[in-house]
Symmetry: D3
Subunit: 253 residues, 6 copies
């Protein structure tokens, strides 16, 4: 089975860097997959598509150096199972509020007896190889998003869930949960305190911490702060910001 590329980074003492895909274009997926990321996360929560397109996007990513991951739209057992069948080497699940939910997430990502994932012939085996069943439980990672008030309250018990790879911060929703505007202010104030607390809790529990970054400076700051998994921006931000720069170059350059 293809190894988990995030862990290769972690084992080398480095942060892993993942891309974020919300365009339902396999060509865009490949473009991101060749841009230097360790993994690319297909976003089924805010991306305008569901599993049909998502699996195609993971198929496209499978031909690139980047490892396919998926953000599930929710803690839905069947959807998570299908994303794994479709070749996701990791699941990031939004809005985990409780340890019980985190346990459900882990269960959905593991075959019995460690979980309740259903076994079926699917492309994960094609992409992963004939030892997929034997190694999947150890290779595939489940990440719980901390981004609600309740999730923050239950942070330590969530971090303690056995089999969870890590916690992943959604700073926009977390800002809203803290009564702040959605554009994250990560350097000071309540969000900064929450990020610090999350990082500490993850470490204390022997788990990884990841975060979605909405500014380049944030990405560097978060890596230096110790986050293991950095998502620096996302496809539609790349496209619109670069397009605006080129338009300006054409009109005024």
């Amino acid at each position: 089975m293809r190894p988990n590329r995030l862990r290769e980074r972690f084992d080398a003492g480095q942060a892993a860097v993942a891309g974020w895909l919300s365009f339902d274009s396999q060509y865009a997926a490949e473009t991101l997959g060749h841009a230097g990321f360790d993994a690319v996360v297909v976003d089924l929560q805010h991306g305008p598509f569901h599993v049909d397109a998502a699996i195609g996007l993971m198929q496209a990513l499978s031909a690139t150096p980047a490892m396919p991951m998926a953000r599930s739209p929710s803690l839905d057992f069947a959807t998570i199972n299908k994303l794994l069948d479709g070749g996701a080497w990791g699941i990031i699940c939004p809005m985990i509020d409780t340890a019980g939910q985190a346990r459900e997430l882990v269960s959905a990502c593991r075959y019995p007896p460690m979980g309740m994932r259903s076994f079926g012939p699917a492309r994960g085996v094609l992409y992963g190889g004939p030892d997929y069943f034997d190694k999947a439980n150890d290779t595939i990672e489940a990440w719980a998003m901390i981004e609600t008030a309740e999730g923050l309250r239950n942070l330590e018990s969530i971090c303690a869930v056995d089999g969870l790879a890590g916690v992943f911060v959604g700073p926009g929703d977390l800002s809203l949960a803290l009564g702040l505007p959605p554009t994250p202010r990560w350097r000071e104030g309540p969000l900064a305190e929450a990020l610090d607390r999350i990082l500490q809790a993850a470490r204390a529990a022997g788990k990884r911490a990841g975060i979605f970054c909405t500014a380049k400076e944030m990405a560097g700051d978060m890596r230096r702060a110790g986050f293991d998994l950095i998502v620096p921006g996302y496809d539609s931000l790349y496209l619109s910001s670069a397009a605006r720069e080129w338009v300006a170059a054409a009109r005024e350059g």
Copy 2:
């Protein structure tokens, strides 16, 4: 009928700036359509899709400030007709080698008696309004790409074709045609001379000139040189270059 936004720019003495779309994602199309372009060109020649996807992309563009245009895959009458039916307000046709081909292009873009475009109930009318048939011949523009050795030889006769809106330079293919590497060197040498000649020929014939630019500096240079329609870069370049910058910010920032 919605007016031709390029002409509004031209009439104001400005260059028009168009985006270039090769991702078959309607969300990417909308993202480009809101990025400040006057038009967005759906590329059926090098983009990994044909008319089915292209019309969907033009539908998505129709809800943005950018006017939908299309680069046809070739000088194929039926395909050009369908792209117009699908709501293209302008066609850029690759590899026009002769004045005869340019006349075919114009004919495919115009209803009789000015051309041979077929009339049928289609979404152009929905997007354009009930006066579409009456105004389409005057509103929709046909641009001939000059990018082959033969096209360059026949430049003046192509520019003289009645009803043609302008000539549009494909600098990569034109470089190859001139025996140069495909990455355009627009500031000096054979390509620079050809660009100058094309611009002169267009002006002499009362036609517009447009160009695809692969560098920001090229976009500004071409506008200053007098090109009327500037395409500064393209979606996959935006995505990959911005992604690389953000990856660097995450790893080293």
Copy 3:
């Protein structure tokens, strides 16, 4: 942010009229969007598609005068969130049985602190404009369908739910719930009584009332009865009934 067109009608003392789309064709969507409706509802419950197609249909509607709305397939938080991200300016949720469910529906349609909707970069912002986040909670409407025996029993408590825009009657399912055949008899009998009760309850609670109509006469009757939101028929009924008329004209006309 684009205003809610239904409210413009309501504020003018008029009923709003919405189309109903179950064809997964963007061209059909645009055709309906230009047919005179104030809004068009993309039906994910009985339409043969899920969110991928639905968002494309809303993209197509975005270029028309009709405001995009969606009937969600069920009270599923993630699906409702994605439809909103995809540009729905209103959600109609089937089979609301209890006030608790109605509150969940409202919560799914509102950002914190008024609800639990997740914030993410998505096309709603493109379609709606940069003030989308600030105005979305006030602009986007949630409608609860009353169409089960339990929903009818809990009608008043459902109508009392804060933030709910209105109740919307599914007369076919409601007829079944009342022990009647599915083709609605709206003028007398148990269904007529239920419709009257629903209308009264909505008014008493300061909420709007809407209804799906399966006959032209029903549409007029319901408007005169005081329903605020009228859905007169649906696409497949239009297509099949008109087709039959034209077939008859060809064979016997």
Copy 4:
């Protein structure tokens, strides 16, 4: 092999009536297929789709009483071959100008030695049955559209082409070719004369005549005039006209 349903009508001394599909929705296709037509023509010329969608639409039609046919986007050998492979029991080809083109059309629809159609394993055999190869040349029909000035000039020689099933009038384009507005005036004037001439020429050559009708009255008139194949209206006209009636019923009924 399933028989040609048009011929069953013709053999019974009746006109055949075909539907016209431009919505790329398989559900819309089935809806039309159950509306009483003898056949439904999938329109690849003005419909916003190409062969991928068209074959899906014919698959959907295959489960209905209506026989699948296709209007090809042009006289393109490979496209016509693929539509046949996809299960079209008849091809209507636009803009046939000469007898030579009509012969090419016939050739594309027939296996050697009667034509140059390529043989390959495809769904036509699934839909048609194991005797498909043996009977296809005799069952599948090719219709040439007469709708240009040149086609009208060459009418008699086109009608004389061996193997052609009939000529089919595109009255919108033909009106343009005659210098008239595109909305057909079929009862008098140049178009009426042309229709009469086409009908006579077809009969004289032992060929069938068909026509696309844009009004119910036209459909009845054309049947009475002797046209064999009547296409009464089309899907988007059905949808928009019925929608407008229902909107009026809701607003004013």
Copy 5:
């Protein structure tokens, strides 16, 4: 309404044989539909697609002798409803653990008052005919998968659920639940005992029993053992095993 073909087999004292589809290709669906099966099950659990593709696959199957069925991705009311609307004549639901879940499944498959299925105009009626509503409750079958430890514990109470057509064994997951490797050993040991127990329980309750078979020998064995519904293999197994045989023939034959 088209009859249930499984029952025709059962009534004739025969086992029914169903195909299993995980390729999201309508052409593959038709190919299976013409291969001699009584039904073909579209697999939404492990197949790489959701309802959009699944309904297209059922449309394709509708033109074949095989009756369309679907395995739902989970016990999700809305999804099951939509698959029925899409023309499934039977639902196989994975991972039924309790009688309560089995009752929910039955309810999702039946209109009131026997269940809570929602009534709406959809393609089931097109495929089934105008008496669809009257006969659907009696024709469409719900099958509960027994494949978890909990489901096995509750086997008898699940079998006792009124309206359930039968139980269907997922031998891979059941093996995992029994602490065995996922490749089923059906002839002896714990799985063989479980299969026997399931068959007995189904019979005792007057229900049918079905099973998914991963080897040809297993298919024959299970039929002889008394299983009513046999699924012999699945599409991707057919394709890969046959391909390997042909590759060997080419390289070494």
Copy 6:
């Protein structure tokens, strides 16, 4: 640039074996790509799809050991260019009748000055790597199908075309061209003689010879006869024949 896997076989003195894909399912593509073939040919001539689907299928193949190739629907310059942009490492073009057509084919597959292929940013570069432009002309192969009477007549001059990789036999169409039934009889008679002549002509011209085989025995025979590229069967044949065997095992095993 990834090397041409066929040549690796040829250089090792072996025949190459290619799969044949007509299912528009990326999962089916991957399944074939992992079944032991050196390459898989996406069939746009008889497969029910065009370039949009074909490029997705090649993306899926890109993650497998099999090299992506495509059979173009015809000798259409723009389509062949797009398939190459989409990552085809080889083109098989049907129905090449003359040396002039073969030269056009070669030209469409090569950048200037060796051909007229257009250069554009596309996924071929992603899949192939940054040296794609430099090596594409030498790596990508063009194969001309010999399957018509005229092609057979012009065999030697076709084989002499510079830059052509080889000739590829379509035995079904060639049989028809020879006045035989479409199911190939390769062991004796006119087809056997033609195959021998083609093989000799290819060798005499220093070109490769390939053939599509419709029986396992034919595949072995053709390899032994000296054909370089063997296509043993095709996906729909695999699926239907294996399905029938499994049905038999279930019913009678």
